[in-house]
Amino acid sequence: MNQTLSPKTIKWFSLGWMVAVYAFLYMPIVTLVIFSFNDSPLVTVWSHASFRWYKALMQDSDLISAVWLSLKIAFFSAIISVLFGTFTAFALNRYKRFNGRTLLSSMASMPLVMPDVIVGLSLLLMLVSLQHWLGYPDRGLFTILLGHALLGTAYATVVVTSRLREMDNKLDEAAMDLGCQPFQVFRLVTLPLLIPALVSAFLLTFTLSFDDVVLSSFLSGPGYSTMPMMIFSRARLGLNPTINAVATVTIIVVTIAVIASSFYTSYLERKRKREVAQAYSDSNN
């Protein structure tokens, strides 16, 4: 690099670099959406605009039942994940010293760093051994749910932990001084402050579950095909315009959900700030 690079050149270079990266990130998504409105059965050759593949999608009962299965699994696994993730985050943040703390924190981050194939294989072998001893559980919705809940717990732990770190312990201590029982402190002070983090953890674990193909393939049994499993098996065979239509529908739903949740959390944040300001002014008067 030489000294004579003017600030203007650097500015244009950096702008160009950033535009190029964003183009790289969004190009596939945009083409996916555009070609979902293509009338031609060839996915990549544009003929003219139509809703043909959306109509085909509505008649595709296999795919629709797969979507329902995925939604069910995603909803329940997100709830379980947030619950156990909150417990794990509390255990790791509120109790700095206990036997086996390191083990707990490495177990909680294990699913984050392990490749999916290993998590899937290990869970399946465990469930098979369990079934061998107890005759339960059969592979299907429940086993997929367990796998997604494990993965989700790890992510929810990260989200809740980062919120707990930001939070002021003094509020808890003040509540305790004022005579609250530990559970009351949790219910009246900590939980309301945690809600934005719980909402984002729920959304994150929901999407993770709704998107997962590797764990589901390992853990599912006959007759239980989730939406990503079905898309994966169709995509393996070749290009299929109904996949574009499914993609567009999910992109629209997800975008709405993300925007709505970001509005909701910022609304909660503003409300909390207003209440804090109100409380200060009340106490000053």
Binding site: V21, P28, I118, L125, T207, V213, V214, I231, F232
Partner: protein, 301 residues
């Protein structure tokens, strides 16, 4: 006094509950399964089930360890090549993500403060769209009669379609595309906290922009570099979906081999041995990552 002790008792119970519940949950689903994988990797496959490790024929239990799967993994050329090529693709992915992501994160951290949240949101947004669908989208772009070839041919740039699909090229596109945000986010988090005064001081003392970058910026962002590299490298080693959809028959990746051993060959001990070797391979980068994370924590505290 009685009241105090009962409160204390409740508190202790709460403590055991708060620690105990996630502990049991994660032991059951994270640790025990890995131990079972280790156990099965040391067994052999009998007709329909895995051989039992405990042998009671002498009236007392003897543990039978079977290293056949490991010996096979260690001596078979295909496995050896697959591990090497997985590592090669993972390293390439990490290097390319770094080359694209570092300047990007740097420019992002230097852009006006009020647009930074939007820039960050735009990086995170693709995360919310299905990963599988985004990989599928690349397939529609890269195939011989795909969007890119069609556009180039209609513009007259090329006359024959370029064969991009099912090659190491398409695999790398998919890998870099999927893992780039994992590189950018920690780098940005690190670079946005960089104290500009160091850079100004170095420049005042006569360092060239290149020297400032190499001697000040890069060392100060070391933690971000390590975190980003590990977040890309570790999952990339075991990736299955991307090589399956975008890679060709000759792009060997260990995740695919494990999958085939399990689903096509039904050889559970072999699949488990492949998994254990993979865990050993990513253990070192994982240890480096954890060390840096805890050092970061120590600095913050």
């Amino acid at each position: 006094m009685n009241k105090v002790s009962s409160t204390l008792r409740k508190f202790i119970k709460g403590r055991y509950l708060v620690i105990g519940i996630p502990y049991v949950w994660l032991l059951m689903l994270a640790l025990v399964p890995l131990l079972i994988v280790l156990k099965i990797s040391l067994s052999e496959m009998e007709s329909t089930s895995v051989s039992s490790m405990m042998d009671w024929t002498h009236g007392w239990p003897t543990v039978k360890l079977n290293f056949a799967s490991y010996i096979f993994v260690a001596t078979d050329a295909l496995y050896y090549q697959t591990y090497i090529s997985s590592l090669k693709y993972a390293v390439m992915t990490t290097v390319i993500c770094m080359a694209i992501g570092y300047p990007f994160a740097y420019f992002m951290a230097r852009s006006p403060k009020h647009i930074q949240p939007t820039l960050l949101m735009l990086i995170m947004l693709p995360f919310w769209t299905s990963f599988l669908l985004r990989i599928y989208a690349w397939k529609t772009l890269l195939v011989d009669n795909g969007v890119i070839n069609n556009i180039l041919m209609s513009l007259g740039v090329i006359h024959e379609p370029i064969a991009m699909m099912n090659t190491p090229f398409s695999l790398m596109i998919g890998m870099v595309y999927s893992y780039l945000p994992f590189m950018i986010l920690p780098l940005y988090a690190n670079l946005s906290k960089l104290d500009m005064r160091y850079l100004e001081a170095a420049a005042d003392l006569g360092a060239s922009p290149f020297k400032v970058f190499w001697l000040i910026t890069v060392p100060l962002s070391k933690a971000g570099i390590v975190a980003g590299s590990m977040l890309v490298f570790i999952p990339a080693v075991g990736e299955y979906v991307i090589p399956e959809l975008l890679g060709g028959p000759d792009t060997l990746m260990i995740g695919r081999v494990l999958w085939d051993e399990f689903f096509s060959n039904n050889d559970w001990p072999m699949a488990s041995a492949v998994a254990v070797v993979m865990i050993l391979l990513i253990m070192l980068p994982m240890a480096i990552y954890n060390k840096y994370q805890s050092e970061q924590m120590a600095v913050k505290v």
